[in-house]
């Protein structure tokens, strides 16, 4: 910017125009904002996902221990419980006394003798809709059903007694024998304990032969009181006079069934079932009562059994002795009960069984012993040594919680989730989540000799109560997300009813006692499977198409082909998914072999067509070279036709005449399948091998041959390669099957209509346009002088493409594939609709899978906000995010390498 007149005499405008400068500033501003904004947006998404998922790792919230040093009574209660607002609790004792007390002060609200003379010799408790159902057994051989429940009623302030007037909102007070809390300025809530028992029935006769038939009685179902048809069961006579105390009872109540079992001192064990069926029209309930005796055998030297348990469906009765011996009766078939198995729960003769309780759902037994160990047992279908493949229902010890020496004194299980509170002989109290093995918290340290007598969870699982000889203990507890530990999410977990630890995703169901299974591996596996299969089908087609259009087509055709392919990308994936699920999948299922054979015949027919074109006289091909490209379209129908014609033969040779049954493993040998699998590989191998070994020789020999002769030779070689490939594949197949390998069970297995092949094909369709268009751009962007130099040096177009253009454009091709991969990983709708959403972990091409993204789409709308399920779904989203992030980063690094190489050219 020297001053003075310029050399040319032309005065250059000194200042850049304002509009240009403004535009400059503005665009710089917007680009900066846009760039930073994008980075912020992406990190905000990550932070948000983390924010929602992070609380999964938070430990359970346990409030301070509130201890009242006024004992209710010093002896061990049969059962304790508290009301859902955690204001009061009750304890039932062996002499029939029911004590209700305040939790905060320990003040006794009410003491009541439930039965005048009888001493309770056996008791069982079960949760039913509306409260705790109780079955008590007495010394005279009788038993009585009843319920001990808290009833809640609301009183308007206007109707309330005068003494409550001054009470503040949120405070509670004693109100006669109940507790009252002011919940709003206008309303009080009164919680009153109510115990009601039916007339005792005799169960001492045990055999109850007279009732063994089917008895039908009709009773009106009343919404409030359980319609107990006790008096209608013929076998249950009024109490017998011979003193034959009931030693053990257990019962269960469901909406439709009532089952109970009783064991008396003289060794009779019986099970009784009352089945109700409700008529939806009239609301009438019909009961059917059945009773059967069970074949009880005393255990030598062990005295009477100590525990009696009835499983959740009433299909097995378990009797356990103090040494850990347990007999399980199969009562599924009421007409012929049998002993299913005998197990030793402790597997250590020095220990004693001190507590046996059910976990929520009455399937998992929690066995506590004198060393302080708790083991969780449940029946599972396991393979026993006997006949191969024969599964037997056996108890398995799935979880073990080791002890610290002090014996287990009592076990309480939650009414909502699969947690248990374990009280020990030294006063220690631990809270465990059974499925995830997690110690949620030590509520109380062991101190001296004041054992925990009983422990109970609050009905809403937000508190815990325990009784010791010296007082009442109470905690407020929020378990938060006990189901999710790193181990539970990513490793195999032993779920209830399974024979071994497994990866399972089954997130929710309609009942509370469902055990949620948040094993994320099947979803990650499904995502990888979907991605791999779709890339396997999509990438070769897209890349070869890109090379072909950019290197071998003239620009006129190219300018039409490219937009046409890009138009494919505009198909919404939901439409593709819909077509895949409802049109494509059934067609493929009906013509599977045709479809598989066409994978070979269509490429072959194209190659064959190329050879035929070579054979044509040169004048003809030159004159009609415009038709060369359109004539290629004949290859597709030709290949399809060929596949259609060959399919029956292939099915006969390779798949024993019925591919579905062959895949299912019902018929046929492994060899045919290997042949079909190896043939495409062998084709590549043979083609590559011949050109490698004979390529130079052929070139030298054919130097002076006529064009016609070359073409003929080429055709012959093509046929020879095909034949060679067939022989090669046959040899490999023979070898593989001779060595005893079978493809079924691995990569191919039983055919399911919605499967990875269908999804891979359709999703390949979805990713082809992206990969194609980006790689085509990359290839076209290779400088023209490289191409010209290569062609000028005598290289054929094919040599130019494979040795010059493709290596130069490698970085672009690679990003194209990576972007396609990104799309495949995140693709939702096609997978959701066409993959069946089965959370399996098998590589089988012919069955489905469930991907992370489809899983989120299916389950997020249903998940309760801030529940474990909801947060776990966000965690799966985070995993998906991390997967794509890592993949893209790796891809970017590799791309940079390629690019550097390309620049060095």
């Amino acid at each position: 910017m020297a001053s003075g007149p310029s050399f040319t005499g032309y005065q250059r405008a000194k200042k850049t125009r304002f509009s240009v400068r403004a535009g400059d500033v503005l665009s710089r501003f917007f680009i900066t904002v846009g760039g930073i904004g994008t980075i912020i947006a992406v990190s905000t998404v990550a932070v948000f996902l983390l924010w929602v998922a992070f609380p999964l790792l938070k430990p359970a919230l346990i409030g301070d221990q509130q201890e009242v040093r006024t004992p209710v009574r010093t002896d061990k209660p049969l059962r304790i419980a508290m009301d859902e607002y955690q204001l009061s609790g009750w304890a039932l004792y062996g002499d029939g006394e029911l004590v209700s007390f305040r939790l905060d002060t320990g003040e006794v609200l009410e003491r009541r003798r439930l039965f005048d003379q009888s001493v309770i010799t056996a008791s069982s408790f079960s949760l039913a809709r509306g409260g705790l159902r109780v079955l008590l057994g007495f010394g005279d051989g009788s038993a009585a059903f009843g319920s001990i429940v808290y009833r809640t009623r609301f009183i308007n302030a206007a109707d309330a007694p005068a003494e409550l007037d001054g009470m503040e909102v949120g405070l509670s007070a004693r109100f006669d024998t109940a507790m009252v809390e002011r919940i709003s300025p206008t309303q009080f809530r009164v919680t009153q304990l109510e115990a009601r028992f039916d007339e005792p029935l005799s169960v001492a006769t045990g055999t109850l032969e007279s009732a063994a038939g089917v008895k039908g009685t009709v009773g009106q179902a009343d919404s409030d009181q359980s319609a107990a048809p006790a008096d209608t069961a013929d076998g249950l006579e009024p109490a017998a006079e011979a003193p034959n105390p009931v030693l053990l009872v257990d019962h269960l109540d469901s909406d439709s069934d009532r089952v109970f079992a009783a064991f008396t001192a003289d060794g009779t064990l019986g099970i009784h079932r009352q089945r109700a069926r409700e008529n939806l029209l009239t609301g009438e309930v019909t009961y059917r009562t059945t009773s059967i005796p069970l074949p009880y055998e005393p255990l030598d030297g062990q005295g009477q059994p100590k525990f009696l348990k009835l499983s959740g469906l009433g299909d097995s009765v378990m009797l356990a002795w103090e040494n850990g011996h347990l007999v399980r009766f199969n009562t599924r078939d009421f007409s012929s009960p049998s002993i299913e198995e005998r197990v030793d729960l402790l597997e250590d003769s020095t220990l004693r069984l001190t507590a046996l309780e059910y976990l929520l759902g009455r399937t998992t037994l929690l066995a506590g012993d004198s060393s302080g160990r708790v083991r969780a047992w449940f029946p599972a279908n396991v393979e026993t040594g006997g006949r191969a493949g024969r599964l037997k229902n056996r108890m398995v010890p799935a979880h073990t919680f080791p002890g610290e020496g002090s014996p287990v004194a009592c076990i309480g299980s939650s009414q909502r989730i699969r947690t248990m509170g374990v009280g020990y002989g030294d006063g220690r109290l631990d809270l465990f989540h059974v499925t995830s093995h997690k110690l949620l918290g030590r509520l109380r340290e062991g101190a001296g000799d004041e054992p925990v007598q009983a422990v109970a969870f609050a009905p809403k699982d937000d508190g815990l109560m325990a009784l010791t000889r010296g007082g009442i203990l109470h905690w407020e507890v929020d378990p938060l997300h006990p189901e999710s530990t790193f181990r539970a999410l990513f490793t195999r977990v032993w779920y209830e009813g399974a024979a071994e630890p497994q990866h399972v995703w089954q997130s929710s169901s309609g009942t509370d006692d469902f055990e949620p299974k948040f094993g994320m591996m099947p979803l990650i596996f499904g995502t990888l499977k979907a991605t791999l299969f779709s890339l396997f089908l999509g990438v070769p087609i897209a890349l070869f198409a890109a090379i072909f259009t950019s290197e071998f087509l003239n620009s006129t055709v190219r300018s039409r082909v490219k937009p046409a392919v890009e138009l494919m990308a505009s198909l919404p994936s939901v439409v593709l998914g819909f077509l895949a699920a409802l049109v494509f999948a059934p067609v493929v299922a009906d013509h599977l072999v045709v479809f598989l054979v066409s994978f070979v015949t269509i490429p072959v027919s194209f190659l064959f067509g190329a050879r035929v074109w070579q054979l044509l006289p040169q004048q003809f091909t030159l004159r009609h070279h415009r038709w060369r490209f359109p004539s290629m379209f004949l290859g597709l129908p030709l290949g399809a036709l060929l596949a259609f014609l060959l399919a029956p033969a292939v099915e006969w040779i390779c798949f024993a005449g019925d591919v579905m049954r062959w895949l299912d493993g019902q018929i046929g040998e492994a060899g045919g399948g290997w042949l079909a699998l190896f043939f495409p590989l062998a084709c590549f191998g043979a083609a590559w091998g011949t050109s490698r070994v004979f390529g130079d020789l052929v070139r030298r020999v054919s130097m002076n041959w006529s064009r016609q002769r070359c073409a003929l030779f080429d055709l012959a070689r093509f046929a020879a390669v095909g034949l060679g490939a067939l022989l090669l594949a046959a040899a490999a197949a023979w070898l593989a099957s001779a060595l005893g390998f079978d493809p079924r069970g691995g990569l191919i297995d039983t055919y399911v209509q919605r499967n990875a092949l269908v999804v891979g094909f359709v999703m390949g369709f979805a990713i082809i346009p992206i990969i194609y268009t980006i790689s085509e751009d990359a290839l076209t962007a290779v400088p023209e002088h490289l191409r010209s130099a290569s062609l000028g040096a005598g290289a054929t177009p094919w040599q130019t493409a494979t040795r010059v253009i493709v290596p130069t454009a490698m970085s672009g091709l690679f990003s194209a594939v990576m972007i396609g991969l990104g799309r495949a990983v995140g693709e939702t709708m096609i997978v959701l609709m066409a993959a069946g959403n089965t959370p399996l972990m098998e590589w089988n091409v012919f069955n489905g899978f469930r991907t992370l993204s489809a899983n989120i789409a299916v389950e997020l709308p249903e998940a309760v906000r801030d529940s474990t399920h909801y947060r776990t779904l966000f965690l799966t989203a985070l995993v998906l995010f991390a997967m794509t992030f890592v993949l893209n980063t790796i891809a970017e690094i590799i791309r940079m390498r390629f690019r550097k190489k390309a620049f060095e050219l």
Partner: protein, 329 residues
Amino acid sequence: MRKYLGVALLIAAALTMAANPVLAQVQVDPALPQYKPVPGVSGSIKSVGSDTLNNLMTLWTEGFKKIYPNIQIEIEGKGSSTAPPALIAGTSNLGPMSRKMKDKELDEFEAKFGYKPIALPTSIDMLAVFANKDNPIKGLTLPQLDAIFSKSRKLGLAEDITSWAQLGLKGEWANLPISLYGRNAASGTYGYFKEHALGKGDYRDSVKEQPGSSAVVQGVASDKGGLGYSGIGYKTADVIAVPLAHDASSPMIPATPDYAYTGEYPLARYLYIYVNHKPGSNLDPLRREFIKYVFSAQGQQDVVKDGYFPVTAKIARETLEYIGINPGF
């Protein structure tokens, strides 16, 4: 994407609706009154919940809108589990559910409002087990169903059932594996089937979870070896409803209305609408009239039209009284 899902389900629903069968002639209880319009009804109905009830809700709201043209209606049906969160958050005023609320859901509702929501039994559904229309199967027992759909086999059969041959089918059917279709875990149908047909056992991983009832029927219709469960209302001519029996010694009960009413069909259930109603208070006119409409002759006629079974006048009367509406019949 959710929009796409909606579109897809809509297409699927439309396809199924088009082929909706004329089920056995079900009569609406003649004691039910015709609905009579009242003045002063306005506002918007927002319903979030069961997919099983989706078509039925649409029919009801359409009928209701004909009477009161100036009300707004929005219906979302993705599964029963979506109903409680929406009711609690206040984003919906009706919560159709094909199962009862779980205790946990009741608790959450109660924690927010201080009282429990009210369940209105609006109609009766039979959960049908569908097979392809060409399938010659005569019937299935619940233990068989359990061995087919569940990996736990809680009902006690000794072996998994994976092929039609194990169910006694001959010829070409004997070679077919059973291809399983079911609903996604959000749906009440999923939970109901698990509880009542599988003894609360776990589903097998190979059950193809479909996002809607019609997708299940479509799947079975297009899959020769298919077997799936969903509400009877989604039955089309391309599938058959397999008769069911409690156990091997009980008779096979076909999925017809008579057996649903008597309670003999093992998988019959109520379909509910949950409402947020404070005990003792009066419902707003919009919901009051809508509920009256549902329990009127027209509303129950819609139930029949959709392939479900109407409730009796007795149930309708009790329900209306329970929620503080004068039934007037």
